[in-house]
């Protein structure tokens, strides 16, 4: 006998709203709820708080639809680099690569159009260089502002047709705005000034690639919202200079977070912020023209500083880091990336002064060696995350001290540290029993011995990544399999690993969610079928370049691991269209399959066109 529908008969509507709000805005869950029954559809639409959209064929009309459907939205994220999954009649989408990261100098409006999403549709001729009409316009933004009067967070990424007019209407209609994020938008000063005038609750401002903004706009905004602003981020905005930062220093006295990525900012600006914003908690600098003078000021005035990150080609010397070490006693997180002039002295000063340090990343700082790290190991007992990238000068004894002194270490990340070997890892394993995450890439001195020690000692390890460590083999994974229940495993490129090692992990890690075994020449079907048996929760799997696996192993895996959402399997000569079809049909939640185009049958293409991504051989 069927049970009674309890939820709809027993819970009042506002309880259902409360439950839907706990779905964390996960679109797939919200969509599922909207399909359950009519009551849920109505309530789900009322409870939707977050809307994320990519590019679309008619964004203005689309926004009209959204404001009618979801009346209580608070957070809107529009990213026009991302293609919407097109309806089936548009053909196969070709997903373009990751968004352009730091290639700032070469970045201009023209360059961008070559990175636009390509839709292999019938209308492609007219689309190629003429995508602007498909971009959200000011009218669309006005509709949005009208419809979502309680808007709290707005993020516009590469909405190249939006200008001050649109932003002004957001300012006037959405007075509760708390977060504004503009990236690659040609908004002018009047827009920002309007925000400053109207949005007195603005807490978070992020500007990236905003070529239309000058100091005028930002100064006006600082004057208007200075009292509420807590976080500011400015990256690659060529016309924003120290003048803006001086205004920030005068008006934004409660500022907690500042993130700057610009070659146009100099010492004067950073000094002004250091002096004016004594509550500064988080400071991230990627400014080639800022030197010791500015950082010394931070080291003098910002005693509340908890996070400091210095990126690329910085000219800072030991002097400023010593000042930071002296004053910023609350420092918890430090990132030093490509800071060539910093030596062990800097780390020693930090170690002495900042006993609460919990996170440290040293990336490519060629003058920092073993001594600096040893000092950290001796004086920072609260260290919980350590990352050493491209640190060829750091040797084993550095990690001995860390293993001895940092009992609370939870995450260790080593990339290209050619002088760190098995003994160091053994020491870490024996000393840091709380280790949860261990990532090692291209550290050729590390082999089975170190990893076996990890398996024997680190019972809480859940995330293990050993990439291109060619001395690591099955013995290591067998020890891991016996000692740790993993959720994430990546052993890409450790070509000594074969079936025996993977089988051991499969048997010992029933909660495995992510597995990458790419570039393992010795891995075969046996391992795949054991993973199928042992890891039912698997969501993501990377099998590319596994030359021995066949459709048989793949089928075993797909039929048992039905929750798989993504599967990469390019360059696997023995996987055929039958294997691909099995994955697509057995894994009901599948969202992405990366495979050679010619391995996909017509039937599979019809069933699952939108989730397939193809290896582009012509590139």
């Amino acid at each position: 006998m069927r049970g009674q529908d309890l939820i709809n008969t027993v819970l009042p509507d506002e309880m259902l709203v409360e439950i839907f709000c706990h779905l964390d805005g996960l679109k797939s869950s919200c969509d599922s709820c909207s399909l359950v029954c009519k009551k849920w559809l109505k309530i789900e639409r009322l409870s939707r708080r977050t809307v994320r959209i990519g590019a679309s064929r008619n964004p203005d009309a689309f926004v009209k639809l959204l404001v009618q459907r979801f009346v209580n939205v608070r957070n809107v994220y529009i990213d026009e680099r991302l293609p919407v999954s097109p309806p089936f009649q548009f053909g196969y989408p070709i997903i373009h690569g990751p968004p352009p990261a730091t290639k700032k100098r070469r970045y201009s409006k023209n360059a961008r159009s070559s990175l636009e999403p390509l839709h292999a549709s019938k209308d492609s001729r007219s689309e190629s260089r003429d995508l602007e009409p498909f971009s959200l316009s000011d009218a669309g933004l006005v509709t949005l502002a009208d419809g979502f009067a309680r808007l709290e967070k707005l993020s516009l990424v590469w909405c190249s047709n939006v200008t001050s007019v649109g932003i002004k209407s957001v300012a006037e209609k959405c007075k509760s705005l708390k977060t504004l994020d503009l990236q690659g938008c040609y908004v002018g000063d009047q827009g920002l000034a309007a925000i400053g005038e109207c949005c007195k609750q603005l807490e978070d401002l992020n500007l990236r690639f905003c070529e239309g903004l000058t100091d005028t706009g930002l100064v006006e905004l600082a004057r208007g919202c200075g009292k509420s602003l807590k976080a500011i981020g400015i990256a690659v905005c060529a016309k924003i200079t120290d003048i803006s930062l001086e205004a920030v220093g005068s008006h934004c006295t409660l500022l907690q977070t500042l993130s700057l990525d610009s070659e146009f900012i100099q010492n004067k600006g950073v000094l002004a912020v250091a002096r004016g914003c004594s509550s500064l908690n988080v400071l991230k600098l990627q400014c080639i023209n800022v030197t010791d003078e500015a950082l010394l000021a931070v080291g003098t005035f910002c005693s509340s500083l908890e996070l400091l990150a210095l990126y690329s080609f910085q000219r800072f010397t030991d002097r400023s880091l010593c000042a930071i070490g002296n004053v910023c006693k609350k420092l918890k997180s430090l990132t030093l990336s490509d800071c060539y002039f910093l030596s062990d002295k800097s780390l020693e000063a930090i170690a002495t002064g900042c006993g609460e340090l919990a996170q440290l990343e040293v990336n490519g700082c060629h003058n920092i060696g073993t001594a600096g790290l040893e000092a950290i190991g001796r004086s920072c007992p609260g260290l919980s995350e350590l990352a050493l990238l491209y640190c060829q000068r750091i040797g084993n004894s550095a990690l001995f001290e860390v293993g001895r002194g940092c009992k609370l270490l939870q995450a260790l990340n080593l990339v290209d540290c050619s002088n760190i070997g098995d003994d160091a890892i053994c020491n870490i394993a024996q000393g840091c029993r709380n280790l949860k995450k261990l990532h090692i890439r291209r550290c050729y001195e590390i082999g089975d011995k170190g990893i076996i020690a990890v398996g024997e000692n680190c019972k809480f390890l859940t995330d293990l990544s050993l990439r291109f460590c060619d001395r690591v083999g099955d013995a290591a994974l067998i020890a891991i399999g016996q000692g740790c229940s993993l959720r994430y495993l990546n052993v890409s490129g450790c070509h000594q690993i074969g079936d025996a090692g993977l089988i051991a992990v499969a048997r010992g890690s029933p909660e495995l969610v992510y597995l990458d075994v790419s570039v393992l020449q010795n891995l075969g079907d046996m391992a795949l079928s054991e993973v199928g048996e042992g890891c039912p929760l698997l969501k993501d799997i990377v099998l590319s370049h596994c030359r021995q696996i066949t459709d048989v192993g793949l089928a075993y895996l797909a039929k048992k691991c039905t929750r798989i959402e993504s599967c990469h399997m390019v360059y696997c000569p023995f996987i055929t269209s039958a294997g691909v079809a099995t994955v697509v049909s057995s894994c009901v939640n599948i969202k992405k399959v990366l495979v050679e185009k010619w391995k996909v049958s017509q039937r599979t293409r019809r069933r699952a066109g939108s989730i397939l991504s193809y290896l582009c051989m012509d590139l």
């Binding site: 027993v10 869950s29 599922s32 359950v36 559809l41 919407v84």
Partner: protein
């Protein structure tokens, strides 16, 4: 049961009566976890008598009291600071506590809402949301015994509507 020294409220016992006439004797400080009851008690109307709760049945009320007792004790251990809810012990208790059948879960949520016990309400709603999260539409309907009242055309239309964005 730990006795906390201090004012009268920590040793005063109140009586709560469920809808099915079961009576529970509870320390006042535990009762105060409920904002609704706090209002009633502070008005001093009920300080010597029984507080009737016609909306909550005994089985559910007993669980709610257990939750409030545990949380009051945990808070006392860290001297009333905010950290109490974060301790591993309390987290483990909460996850065991909320691991109940659907009918009880709904009862707890309704009672927590009526009694205005925010943490318990969040816990219950999160649990139901978690039960919904990983499921397909059909599975959600099966789990909660909900009848699908859409026509196939209506369902198709909604699915198409939902294709609009990325996650």
């Amino acid at each position: 049961m730990s006795m906390i020294s201090g004012d009268k409220s920590s040793t005063e016992i109140l009586s709560l009566k469920s809808s099915d006439n079961e009576i529970f004797e509870v320390k006042k400080e535990v009762v105060l976890e409920s904002i609704t009851l706090r209002g009633m008690v502070e008005e001093d109307e009920f300080s010597d008598t029984l507080i009737p709760l016609p909306n909550v049945e005994g089985k559910i009320l007993s669980k709610i009291i257990h939750y409030c007792q545990k949380h009051t004790e945990a808070r006392a251990k860290v001297n009333g600071s905010e950290g109490a809810a974060d301790s591993k012990e309390i987290k483990d208790f909460d996850s065991e506590f909320i691991n109940v059948d659907d009918k009880t879960l709904l009862g707890i949520i309704l009672a927590a809402n009526y009694l205005n016990i925010k943490d318990l309400l969040d816990l219950g709603c999160q649990k139901i949301a978690d039960n919904i999260k990983e499921k397909s539409v059909e599975d959600v309907r099966k789990t909660f015994n909900i009848k699908n009242d859409f026509t196939p055309e209506e369902e198709k239309a909604i699915r198409e509507e939902n294709l609009w964005a990325f996650d």
